[in-house]
Symmetry: C2
Subunit: 500 residues, 2 copies
Amino acid sequence: MTKQKFGLTAKKEEDFSEWYVQVITKGEMIDYYEIKGCYVMRPQGQFVWKCIQKWFTEKIEELGVQECYFPMLVPKSTLEKEKNHVENFSPEVAWITKCGNEVLGDPVAVRPTSETIIYPSFSKWIRSHRDLPLKINQWCSVLRWELHGTLPFIRGKEFLWQEGHTAFLTKEESDVEVFAILDLYSRIYSELLAVPVIKGRKSESEKFGGADYTTSIEAFIPGSGRGIQAGTSHSLGQNFSKMFDIKVDTEEGSENSSFVYQNSWGLTTRSIGIAIMIHSDNLGLVLPPRVAMIQVVVIPCGITASSSEEDVESLRTYISKIHAQLKNFVRVHVDDRNNVTVGFKFNHWEIRGVPLRLEVGFKDMANSEACLVRRDTRAKKQVSVEDIGQTVMEEIDTMHNDMLSRATTERDRRISYVRSFEEFMSSLENKKMIMAPWCGVDKCEANIKSKTTKFGPNGNVVSTGAKTLCIPYEAKSCNGMECINCNQKAIHYALFGRSY
Amino acid sequence: MTKQKFGLTAKKEEDFSEWYVQVITKGEMIDYYEIKGCYVMRPQGQFVWKCIQKWFTEKIEELGVQECYFPMLVPKSTLEKEKNHVENFSPEVAWITKCGNEVLGDPVAVRPTSETIIYPSFSKWIRSHRDLPLKINQWCSVLRWELHGTLPFIRGKEFLWQEGHTAFLTKEESDVEVFAILDLYSRIYSELLAVPVIKGRKSESEKFGGADYTTSIEAFIPGSGRGIQAGTSHSLGQNFSKMFDIKVDTEEGSENSSFVYQNSWGLTTRSIGIAIMIHSDNLGLVLPPRVAMIQVVVIPCGITASSSEEDVESLRTYISKIHAQLKNFVRVHVDDRNNVTVGFKFNHWEIRGVPLRLEVGFKDMANSEACLVRRDTRAKKQVSVEDIGQTVMEEIDTMHNDMLSRATTERDRRISYVRSFEEFMSSLENKKMIMAPWCGVDKCEANIKSKTTKFGPNGNVVSTGAKTLCIPYEAKSCNGMECINCNQKAIHYALFGRSY
């Protein structure tokens, strides 16, 4: 794992795709794998996911959600029970047809999502209103055989996620939860990943197959000018409960029964890719400091061949005292390798995105100080080693807030409010997201998509068209305005953009 | 989830298999699923697994193991790279051959274990001795298409496990780790699950395909009289490193290189099934108290239709004070349902294995007391509500120690040291494990197995034969003795038994 010989050779502003691949591989977040679209999550990547897991698990436990694990396999007939749902997934479903040398009579699918796996159990478990609400969540991987456009973290054949599945007696209760979860998702981005997101509702054509309505959070990737779906919370209404016969007696002993209202909600490791794309730079990975596996790396400086053994020893002692203090507050690593130069170490940890570097040399020691360097801004400052734990903790919060604030400023700068289709097109050209008054009609969205698709000389699609990312919950009124595309009455502002 | 109408109808001593199925389903640990051999892990089951995860993760982090996640899919050619390994698994491998409507040119396997998935990465990551040791672990599910004998927790087509994979420069270092991990596995059983295990080495015919040697811990199920493998830690030697080209330059700049020494080790949710089989009784589940999702259930007692509102209110206040104290120490639930009787509640929580019940009535309140009832022994005692948290914590430890001690006594009582094959056979008839001097030869083990296989009237196997469970590390010398079966020179005592 040493021998990292080179920095990045691609620049974020010149070749964003190549830059991203270099950042995540040289930053040791992910590795490529023999099967296209499957990736190896390395410890530094997995650590971020574990931070998200821990935070979110605590929050949903407060909401009464319990953790389960359901099988990864589903029989064909069950998978196909909800028609809109299966239409959504069938082109991507992976089928097991053979085990050992035996050909299976009925092929089984590997879960692309688990509604149809989980809801037969809901039907068994739910009998009376006292069994409600029922709230479960699982952390697992799912498999969707994406044929093109796989990209580490962002779109893989297999990816890690959590999926929550809940059932309520009333639509009102289920609606409340849809938004409570959406809010938690938004906080994962803002509080852990330093990424701003926009909450909204998906258009009819973009909603989840089988849902009454889908809410989502949407992020923006400045490097590519594309929006990206960052998490979804679905109201399934009674669509699945009717198909899977999940119902309760409304009155004890009565023959009346009513189907439950269900939600499902999911967030994936895509979140990590989004944070990397937004924060990293031409030196390599920049990790959001609250989720970095190593938050501070301490590097002894100024030791040369002519340094006396005594001096070196006292610097070592000084550093081990700093280390002892720091480890009570943050995740810290001392890089005391003696086979590489200080410059090599700087590069080594920069490309791996470690948020803070603490340089400690003889002069620092003489002054009971150390030099603290931020990965994001490369800003340096001398800090006292007294209360160094507290100092570093505060720096982590400052850094987090600065990163979130810079990302928000840039995101906001890249949203155009437009009133004409010409403006719409030019904003798209300029790699922006667009807020536009919209009629809300499926056909109009399809028309916009087709008008904005770019073709190459051979008629091949070089850039898929713009679509609605969401209908933001916080938006100006479009009272009296016309739809940006079809000139019918606009019913709300929608956020448009090219997307992942 | 209410409406639990009946207790168990099967008895542990009469129909162990049926009893077990009732315990785990009525105890809400697991549910059956549409696909045979796949099971739903319910919150109470998943909680035990999470306790194991947390404990083990902390311990292996201290050993420098990092968490990763590798793809669940492996191409055929890679899976088949280590010959002994693939022979071990090929009859059970599930193959994906179709995705959407597309037939795959090269089928891919769903991991039955991940050696062949992970080691190509090791080959990339390990270049110099400075990259060693490399230690990674992942928590995931694996798929092994068991054709018969599936049993919840014990043997499923899909099951949850952790798999650790490590690489070292020297055989000595790798050997040390094999035993360090075996020791942690043993502690999971003794410290969390209150189950005694025997550490030993697997015979040549029982070792892991591709391993130099396999160590294991073995437990005993008194109800069935069978031994059961409870965790394995393998020394892979250089078998995989040579096949996957995982090597380091032994001297900087030299042309000499040496293949690394590797280990792999795994523990599964079978551990939960073992604990359930050993501890549970004819009233239902008995959970080891340190890993129970609910450790104490508090039940208000003595409220009748004639109780005054004031009395009921003051009892409620008293209970909420007890609850407030307890929740700082243990996982506690107050069952304040008013639609079921106290007796119903007792049964409800007994069948679900909750370790301690705290009965709180008006007389208890008057004396500032409560009545603490143990699930395992049903022993009752009045306890003061002062320091109730401390009292309950101590009871949990006492209960844990008692359960471990009872299981150990029973296990030891069921091990026969035998000197003749007649004794061997009669011990087996009496559902015991057997310690016998043995020659260590494959053919002799196969012979014992065939001689102890029981056939039904139609020639069908009704009970597979006895085999070596392990060669225990702690055993008497068999100096000068003959093998129990072939009368050749015995080289060690081996633990024999029928097994799962």
